[in-house]
C-alpha cells in the first residue's frame, strides 16, 4: 500500500507525507518538507543591530513576537546590554500573548476539526456555534495583548534593542486585565471541550527538551534541560543539538542525546510541571496530562494547560506593571561587539538565535534554530511507531490518524526551512 498525502492540511507551510508498506510491514515513511528554503541567516549578515529583530521577525507570521524577542535578547547578549525589570515584564507579557494566540489558533481552528470528524472549522460554525464563538473571543483577547504591548497583533513594532519604543497606557492594561479575568469562564468551557475529546491511545517515550524555569514556568531562560539528562547553558546549545540534512527535506533535522527529541508544550510541561500556576495544575489533572505523559496526541492538552497558565500569568504580570507604574526609560547603549546567544520558549518550542557582531554594530554571523526543525525527526519517529499499528485499519483511517498526529505537533514548516546550508565563509 502506498499513501502519499500531498500538502498536509491545517499546518503552517507545505509538507507531504509518504508511506509505503507491503504485506503488513512498513517499508518507507517520509515527512517531506517541500517548502523552499528562505536563507534568513544570509539576509541578516551585514545588517546593523537596530535592523536585525524586525528582519528576523519575518521568519514567521505566527510566532513573529518570539522571533523578535529572542533576536533582541541575542543582540543584547552580544552587545553587553542589560534591560530593566519593566522591559523584562513587558516582554514576558508579549510572549504570553503570542503563546495564547498560537495555541488558540491551533487548538480550536486547526486541531479540533479532527476530533469532530470535519475537514475544517467552517462546518462547526453551524453545528458548534458556541464553541467557535468562544474560541474567537479568546483569540481576540490574545491579539489584544500583543497589540497593546507590541503595537500590533503580529510583527510587533514597539520592542527594540534595550527596551520599548512605546509603552502601553495604564488604562489599556487595566482593560486587558479586566478582559483576562472575564475570560476565565470561557477557559473552563474550553477545558470541558478538550477533556471530552477521544485522544488516540498511542504512546512513545522520547527525549523532552526545554528551558528549565528559574522559579517560573519558562519563557526566557539560561538553562536547557532534557528528560535524558541534558543540563547545560543556553549559550552551549550548538554543542548539544546536532543538526543534519536528510534528502527528502528542505529543513534540517536535529538530534540531541538520541535519534530524535521533542520540543514544545508537552516537553515544557513535563520538564517544568512544578512551575505551573495552581489553576493550570488543576486543568492538567482534568486533561490527564502530566510529567510522565508520552502520548503525542495529548500535546493538545498540554497546550490548553499552557493557555490557562498564560492567562493567569498575564494577569499577574499586568498587576506587577500597574503596581510599579510604567515609566519611559532611556535606551541603554551597546558596550561593544561580541557574540551572544539566546533562547525563548516559542509556542512550538525552543527557539534559538545567536549572532556575532563586528565593531561597526553589523552582523558577521547568524544562527537560528527553529522549534519545528527540532521536532521533525521526532514526528517521523512517532509515525514509524504508529503506522504499523494501523496498517490493518485501511488507507483512510491510517491517513486520518497520521495527519492528526502531525497536526498535534502544530509544525510551522515555513519557519523550519529558512536555514538550509548557509555558509558565511
Amino acid at each position: 500500500m502506498k499513501i502519499a498525502v500531498q500538502h498536509l492540511a491545517r499546518i503552517e507551510g507545505h509538507a507531504n507525507l509518504v508511506i509505503d508498506s507491503a504485506r503488513g510491514t512498513l517499508r518507507e515513511l517520509r515527512l517531506e518538507i517541500v517548502e523552499s528554503p528562505r536563507f534568513f541567516e544570509a539576509m541578516l549578515k551585514g545588517k546593523h543591530y537596530t535592523e536585525v529583530a524586525p528582519i528576523a521577525a519575518r521568519i514567521c507570521g505566527i510566532c513573529s513576537n518570539s522571533h523578535t524577542l529572542v533576536s533582541l535578547c541575542a543582540t543584547e547578549q552580544a552587545l553587553g546590554i542589560e534591560v530593566s525589570e519593566q522591559t523584562r515584564i513587558l516582554r514576558l507579557l508579549l510572549a504570553h500573548g503570542e503563546i495564547l494566540q498560537s495555541h488558540l489558533l491551533q487548538l480550536f481552528f486547526l486541531a479540533i476539526p479532527d476530533y469532530y470528524g470535519v475537514s475544517s472549522i467552517l462546518p462547526l460554525v453551524r453545528s458548534e456555534r458556541a464553541l467557535v464563538g468562544h474560541a474567537l473571543q479568546l483569540k481576540k483577547l490574545a491579539n489584544d495583548i500583543c497589540r497593546i504591548v507590541g503595537g500590533r497583533p503580529v510583527h510587533p513594532v514597539t520592542p527594540t534593542v534595550g527596551g520599548f519604543l512605546r509603552l502601553p497606557e495604564a488604562a489599556e492594561l487595566q482593560g486587558l486585565r479586566r478582559d483576562l479575568v472575564a475570560a476565565l469562564p470561557d477557559l473552563e468551557a474550553s477545558v470541558d471541550i478538550f477533556a471530552a475529546l477521544d485522544y488516540p491511545d498511542f504512546e512513545r517515550e522520547t527525549e523532552y527538551f526545554s528551558l528549565r524555569g528559574d522559579g517560573d514556568y519558562p519563557i526566557f531562560g539560561r538553562r536547557l534541560v532534557s528528560s535524558a539528562g541534558v543540563d547545560c547553558a543556553v549559550a552551549d546549545y550548538q554543542q548539544v543539538i546536532e543538526e543534519y540534512l536528510v534528502p527528502h527535506s528542505n529543513a534540517k533535522f536535529a538530534r540531541l542525546s538520541g535519534e530524535s527529541f521533542m520540543v514544545g508544550a508537552l516537553a515544557r510541561l513535563r520538564n517544568n510541571f512544578d512551575h505551573l500556576s495552581p489553576m493550570a495544575t488543576q486543568v492538567a489533572a482534568a486533561l490527564e496530562v502530566g510529567p510522565t505523559t508520552c502520548n503525542p496526541y495529548r500535546i493538545l492538552a498540554a497546550r490548553l494547560v499552557e493557555v490557562v497558565h498564560g492567562v493567569e500569568r498575564a494577569i499577574h504580570l499586568i498587576d506587577d506593571l500597574l503596581l510599579a507604574g510604567l515609566a519611559p526609560e532611556e535606551l541603554p547603549t551597546p558596550k561593544g561587539p561580541g557574540w551572544g546567544a539566546a533562547a525563548i520558549e516559542a509556542p512550538r518550542g525552543l527557539l534559538f538565535h545567536a549572532y556575532r557582531y563586528a565593531a561597526d554594530g553589523r552582523i558577521e554571523q547568524a544562527d537560528c534554530v527553529i522549534p519545528t526543525a527540532q521536532n521533525l525527526a521526532n514526528i517521523e519517529a512517532d509515525l514509524r511507531a504508529l503506522v504499523p499499528q494501523l496498517l490493518s485499519s485501511g488507507r483512510e483511517e491510517l491517513t486520518r490518524q497520521c495527519e492528526k498526529l502531525i497536526r498535534a505537533y502544530d509544525p510551522c514548516v515555513s519557519c523550519s526551512t529558512h536555514l538550509l546550508t548557509v555558509d558565511f565563509a
Binding site: R10, E12, F109, S120, N143, R152, D410
Partner: protein
Amino acid sequence: MGDDGIGVTVAERLAGEPLPAGVAVVEAGTIGLGLLDLWQGYERVWLVDAVRMGRSPGSWRWLDAADLLCLEPGGFDAHAGPAGVLQLAMALDALPQEFSLLAVEPGLVERRMGLSMAGRRGVAAALAELRRRLECGE
C-alpha cells in the same frame, strides 16, 4: 521582498494624509484571523495588497469577496489568508457591509529592498484610486 511591499507602502502613505471622519488606515501585516477583530465596527473594508493576477505590472483592479475566493480557493488553514478569513466571516455572518480588495499587480517579488518602477507606479495608482473613492464618498 520588493513589490510584496506594495500594500504596506500604500497604507503608510495614506495614513500620513488627512482622512475623512470614520476612516482608519491599518498596516495589518500578516494578521490572518485577526482581520475579524480589525474590521469590527466598520461598514466598509478595503484591503490593499500585491496580487499576482497575470496582468501588467503596476496595474490594479478591485476584487470582491467572490473574486477573492476564486483566486485563492481552499479551506481554512494555519495561514488564515484572506480567503479563509472570508469564508469564516461568511459562515459567522460577520462580513462587513462592503468588502473589497484593491489588488495591485507586482513587478518584482524577490529578495530586494524597495519597490520596482512598476511597483511604484502601482502604489501611485492605488493611492489615486483610494483618494478618489474617499473624496466622492463611494
